[in-house]
Each structure stands twice: as structure tokens, then as C-alpha cells.
């Protein structure tokens, strides 16, 4: 391991004269799992990159896909399993024609396959990764303040 927790601006081309924005952009990749352990391979960047910092200050295309999953994907997964969806519905004009009695087979089937549990796990781990990226981005912003 060559570098652990690279300091903002260390080895930077702009040096101490760089602006706050430049410091953020230059070090957005350092404050992540891949950056902390100086891993520059494609696999390390895909899995261990900081998507929040990349989207805000660095390469937006790198962070966008990850954040889509963290925010939209996890919510869709958690909400979508076993939930009926409607499109273009005006709820004010919808009247209730539901039949009383027990629900159909879908909840039981979903319970057997464990889809809801898997969705919960997937959304949970996505949120944890997102939260850790937010924390690392906060550290990056603080680090660049002290660097100036």
C-alpha cells in the first residue's frame, strides 16, 4: 500500500495556491476506499469510488450511476416489491370497487421467494455506501478548508 488517506493537495500540480474548488475537484477521488488505498484499477474505482464527491466536484459521469442506485433504486426496490403501481391516476376521481376478503396469492408468493427481504438488504447496503460517501465528502470539504 503506497498511500493511506492521501492528504488534500499533496502532490497537487496547483500546490497551496489552488482555489477551494480546485482542491475539491483534484481530491474528489482520494476520499474514498479506492483513493485511500491508492487503487487506480477499474474494479477498485467502480466499487470503491466516492460517488457523491465525483458527482459534486469531480467526474459527474462516474458518480451518477451510483447515486441513481442509492437514491432512486433503493427506494424503488423497497417500495416496489408487492406494491401495486398506477400511472396517470387522479385519486380524487377514483372510487372504490374493492372486494372484501383475503388478498390474492402475490404476497404469499413474494414471502416465499424472499423478494421483500432481498430488496430490504439491497436498499440497506446501498444507503450505507451512500452515507459513507457523504461522510467522506464532508471530510474532503473540511480537508480542503484546512489546506488553504
Amino acid at each position: 500500500m503506497a498511500v493511506i488517506f492521501s492528504q488534500p493537495g499533496a502532490g497537487a500540480s496547483g500546490g497551496p495556491n489552488q482555489t477551494y474548488r480546485q482542491c475539491l475537484a483534484q481530491n474528489s477521488g482520494n476520499y474514498s476506499f479506492a483513493g485511500a488505498f491508492n487503487q487506480n484499477g477499474s474494479g477498485a474505482k467502480l466499487a470503491g469510488g466516492n460517488d457523491v464527491a465525483s458527482l459534486l466536484f469531480g467526474d459527474a459521469s462516474e458518480g451518477q450511476a451510483g447515486l441513481l442506485i442509492a437514491e432512486g433504486g433503493s427506494h424503488s426496490l423497497a417500495a416496489g416489491v408487492g406494491t401495486a403501481g398506477t400511472m396517470g391516476r387522479r385519486t380524487a376521481s377514483v372510487f372504490d370497487l374493492n372486494l372484501s376478503g383475503t388478498t390474492g396469492a402475490a404476497p404469499a408468493i413474494l414471502g416465499k421467494t424472499g423478494a421483500e427481504e432481498v430488496a430490504g438488504v439491497v436498499s440497506g447496503i446501498a444507503e450505507f455506501k451512500f452515507a459513507s460517501d457523504v461522510g467522506a465528502t464532508g471530510a474532503l470539504m473540511l480537508g480542503c478548508i484546512t489546506h488553504r
Binding site: 488505498f37 487503487q39 467502480l46
Partner: protein, 177 residues
Amino acid sequence: MSQSVKEQVKSGLRLGGGLAVFLIAMAPLADGFRRIVWAAPPHQLLWSPIGVAELIVAAGLLVSTAHLWVHYFGGCILFGTIKGCFALMAGTPIPRLELAWAVIIFSVTLVLIVAVISRGTPLIDRIALTVYVFSLGWSADKGLFMPSPSLAVGLAALLASWSFYYWRPHGLSTEQD
């Protein structure tokens, strides 16, 4: 402060602590591998008592906190899988074959890790996860998640733990029948 908020704070601190231990464990792990594996000529190992001690410390930390850091690790793998699929479709400077390998490795690992989390991360799973992290570290000097024999060992460990828990209930139910 209501009880639920207290519980949330405690849970957050617990998960954060687990992630911190995971990152701290990376230091002795990386230095141990540097002394024993990375500095050695190909297909050879160097004997280093300090390196061995560092790897033992790292293994102890990783096994004891695996139920916490597995969530972060699984998140990384999930993001890697999705971002890899996006990159495969959109095209990047990274060769497609390399990306495809990474996506395959991420996907298999993700399925196994989701199964581990669903089971509540018992001891055998913790050991398998630690073996997987060690297998990643073994060839980390050449790049993480690159196809290598060590990575195959890590995946085999996860698969073995999955098989153990998958077949065990079936065996019990057969005996009961």
C-alpha cells in the same frame, strides 16, 4: 430524545464503528501482504514474523466485526455492479472485456453477500468474508477485483459458506421426514 432516535443513533454509531474497524484493519492487512506477498518474487512468499502478526491482527479485527462492515462492503459491490453495467452499455476508456469480468465478479459476489446478510452473518460467513477480503488483498498490488487465482479462492470460500447453510436445513428436514 425519544427511544427510536436513541436506537437510530446507537445503530448508526455501531455501523460507523464497524466501518472504521474495517478501514483500520486494512492497514495491517496491506502491510502484512506487502512484507510477505507483494515484495516476494512471483510464485514465492517471504517469511516475515511482523507480517504474519499483522495478518493475524487484521484477520481478528475483520472476523469480529464482519457483521458490521459487510453492509459497507456489500454497498461497494452493489455500486460496482450497477456502475459496471452502465459503463458496459455507455462505453468507457476501460476495455470492455476487463469491465465484463469485473461485472461478473461483482454480480456473483453481490448475490453471495446478500445471502450472507440475510442469514445474519454467522461465524462461518464471517470467516468466509474475511477469506474473501484476504483474497482481494493478496493480489491488490496488481489491482482490485482483477481475475486471479486468489480471487477464485475468495469466491470459493463465500460459495462454500453459502452451500453449507443452503444444504443444512434441507438435510435436517429430510431427517425429520
